[in-house]
Symmetry: D2
Subunit: 310 residues, 4 copies
């Protein structure tokens, strides 16, 4: 379309992070511009400031940290919404400059979390190597690729190895081969996308008071409408550690009557509800719509009630 | 209004029952016709058949029985609704033909429940008297008044004594002076009356299946909308004793958003909901509308949700 | 056993009531003495006073009333416990003096509830007959049998017809052929009987305060231990109509760990718990013991906890 | 005590991290040996291997990451328990080599989370400075202190600045001055410490199946015993992202009857309960023991039940 600027995507960088790798699975437009930011906070601020159209940041089970920052930055400040999610298997490889062999590796550079997740493999295959930390696996790969570098190899994502011109000495070296990290694509608020039948809605709930049973009451707002949760985390609020809010992913879309009614129930009974978007599930798993909870059931109940009033 | 027939009221008779006494507190139109029926079932059938405009029947804590019949007759068959309720203190007296003294009383006639509720008084004041049962305290009073009767006194309501021309040998003789019986006025369905702010709604809920936790789920439909219950009874359905339904009085009116939403939730998740009317509470106790559950709160939540959708 | 007095059983009489009929299904000892009492209250008082060993009274869905009296008399006063229950199909017949034919029947005597339950049959087969009420179907049958009686037939239980030397003009005449009434056998407290695997426990729960959600909290005490309820009724307390207690039958026996823990939980959180006995279910339906709620599971959990403490 | 080796404490290092600073508030024995580990996983493995007596690691709201690693490493593998916790206000300062002034600072080194949390201060006071990431704020401080370093200042904890001989150019520079991080002291299992009346218990719960309402059932196990939660997080299990477990901090001590009973209830109904210790709360806030939930109430309920059995 002439005159239309291609989309720009920020992400939690630098180039070669797992977030970068996840973003490449999402963006198919070759003209799209991908912009790395040093922190989740900076990536999301760039969305707020209109520097980028949207940004991808880790939200769950991240290898490189940032989850707390993501949750908090989304919660506080100018409104943002999630418009999509990406699940990425966490596959680490050992990457080195071309010509390096395993026997040459004496110093390994990586992020502390990555080191932790590959501990068994490193102990078995490089028992004598020194493991040195960097702020991200991508930074580790870049350092290995730097001419004159005195480190021999990096534990990092495939994308980081390839972007830095490194060769894989080994791949699939994580102790838990099934680990998956979750990322969310974040934009400024606009019309919510259409429901797909396999959606998720993210929100943050602040209690009116920290009374006993408050969490139970929240969950009953969901349960009484037949809405399941996919994720829940209590989070200290920006006040003191004793005050909690709840970060929640619920099954379904704000256009689904069951979720809409649950959200209105929460709006009425919580101090504040921060809506963070309805978006398609990355796993495409259709919602488990229990009997009596489909939109048609809600409409039928409303008709019945009107008839009762006579 | 010329040409308008006065209302006709059926009641659980005969003349002089507590139900009759309760009806007299309700009907101020002297032209209204009051029609006794021998059973609750017959009184309610007369409403269904259009013989009477409405009927008063006992529904809770009745002295003369009939509660089960009331609940079941309302539940099954052509629709009926409750349009009002009456609370009546259960005050028994000992009534005899004029001229009789306490020392003359050797045989006392009454309904078994009334005998039970005045047991202490009878044991203290008429230890030697024989207590003989009748189908109602009103029938007992009528028998005492019958010329040639061989019984000496009746334990009955004041109305029965007076209607039968008897004198009170004693009054307020029930062991529990605070006992109260509840009656409901039943009509064929029509437009539901306006909410007064102190209303009650009666319904019967049939489960989809008798699974464990079914009752808990029902109560969560009420609790998640901030609706309290005034009465609950499990009732065997007309199938087998193992299958239960629940007869419930909830606080509030079907025009209250919180109760309307709870009822729609029940309609969606129960096998059947039998609506038995919204009507003013006899005790005029205003509903306890908790924060976030007023109609304005519901409207505000709906506006919020629309704004979210963008 | 020489020298041992045979058991004596009180029941809600007179001779020939459904309660009497139910008692005959329970008592196999021909020497046992069966004593009718005019009211449920008198029958239970006779147990309290030691006049009889135990008494059978209706507790649910009674044809002849008495249920409220049973619940209240058990709840207040010296302790009593239920030791067994009987379920009796409610089968009415039309009984008359030998030689009477259906065409001879102009006046039918019965209890109002019985009249209500046979209304369709009476309308179809005796449309012109007058129906006159008595305090019990048994009293109706006795009146029909009385020499010189001016009534023609009684609607009553088979036992009442037979005991009074009447013939059945028709049987099975109730509109709902599946109706069942429940009776309980009540004694003074003693060691609770052994659990059978198909037991029921009856109790009355008084709230500390009538706060919203109080009933939900009670039900969670049961649900969190995997205990199902068979019956629940809110009952006005002996104070005012606004204050409720709950009369409950729960599945299981006080010797079952899951029910014992639920009861202790209720004891701790209610104002008062009146225990009314653990006894075998009349329907012999084995408890639905969900995974993790058997006695062995409770014992295993206790062992685990001890090990944790180190 | 002659011959007794002093305690050794591992911690999430390197020297100068916030974890190190937190540990210094806990350890008063000057002879105690403090051992930094590059990752949470390595610190906890050192406890499992007996290299150190215990280890301090971040568990909530960490500045430097590690929370996911802490939760997962505690959950899986040989048993570990938490024996204490520390709350530390997150106070960042800007540290530089002696003689440096704010005007000299062109390159700032820090951990990405720290950069995010001081973004406003840095934008206001060092708008032109480049922010470069390191794996921890401590590593950043060490790099600044290294002779020949080409970076000018570090954003780090006071302890890191002091240990590295740096001067504070500014302190208290975090955007949110009330932020607090929580750390836990972890040991191999042994006898659980005595309850203090202000305790916390940590556990991980695995569901039998991911059925709807599973979380509600878990919370009812706590609520029905009057136990409040301090923290809850759903965590993907080590299987697939769809399967969740719950990491929970509950108020109270395993020696408190209410918590013990809740834990036994969870043990019976969950697939697995991983107990991670009962320990004094860092904030010394006494438990909110609601009526009926004290140890004496539990004992009274048990006595009552025994009496009932007769």
């Amino acid at each position: 379309m002439p005159g239309t600027a291609p989309a720009t995507y920020g992400y939690f960088g630098p180039v070669g992070t797992f977030t970068h790798q996840a973003l490449l699975t999402l963006v198919t437009d070759e003209q799209a511009e991908l912009v790395p930011y040093a922190t989740v906070g900076l990536a999301l601020q760039a969305v707020r400031d209109g520097e980028v159209t949207s940004a991808l940041v880790p939200i769950e089970n991240s290898v490189e940290g940032g989850v707390s920052a993501t949750l908090d930055t989304l919660t506080y400040g100018d409104p943002l919404v999630i418009t999509g999610e990406v699940l990425l298997p966490v596959q680490f490889g050992l990457y080195a400059r071309p010509g390096t062999t395993l026997a040459d590796v004496h110093v390994v550079l990586t992020h502390p979390h990555a080191a932790a997740q590959c501990r068994s493999w490193l102990a078995a295959h490089l028992p004598a190597a020194e493991v040195v930390e960097r702020g991200s696996t991508a930074a580790a790969a870049a350092e290995v690729a730097r001419p004159g570098s005195d480190v021999d190899a990096a534990v990092c994502a495939a994308v980081a190895g390839e972007l830095n011109g490194l060769d894989a000495l080994a791949s699939g070296i994580a102790d838990n081969p099934d680990a998956v990290t979750r990322f969310v694509l974040v934009s400024r608020p606009g019309p919510v996308g259409e429901p797909t039948g396999a959606d998720k809605t993210t929100m943050v709930l602040f209690m009116r008071e920290n009374h006993p049973g408050a969490l139970l009451e929240i969950l009953e707002q969901f349960a009484s409408r037949g809405v399941d949760l996919c994720r829940i985390e209590s989070r200290p609020t920006r006040r003191t550690l004793g005050d909690y809010c709840f970060s929640i992913d619920a099954e379904g879309h704000v256009a689904d009557a069951r979720l809409a009614e649950a959200m209105m129930g929460l709006y009425r009974t919580c101090a504040e509800v921060v809506f963070l978007g309805s978006y398609p599930r990355a796993d495409h798993e259709a919602a488990d719509v229990r009997p009596g909870t489909a939109n048609a059931d809600y409409a039928a109940a409303a008709s019945w009630l009107e008839r009762l009033k006579g």
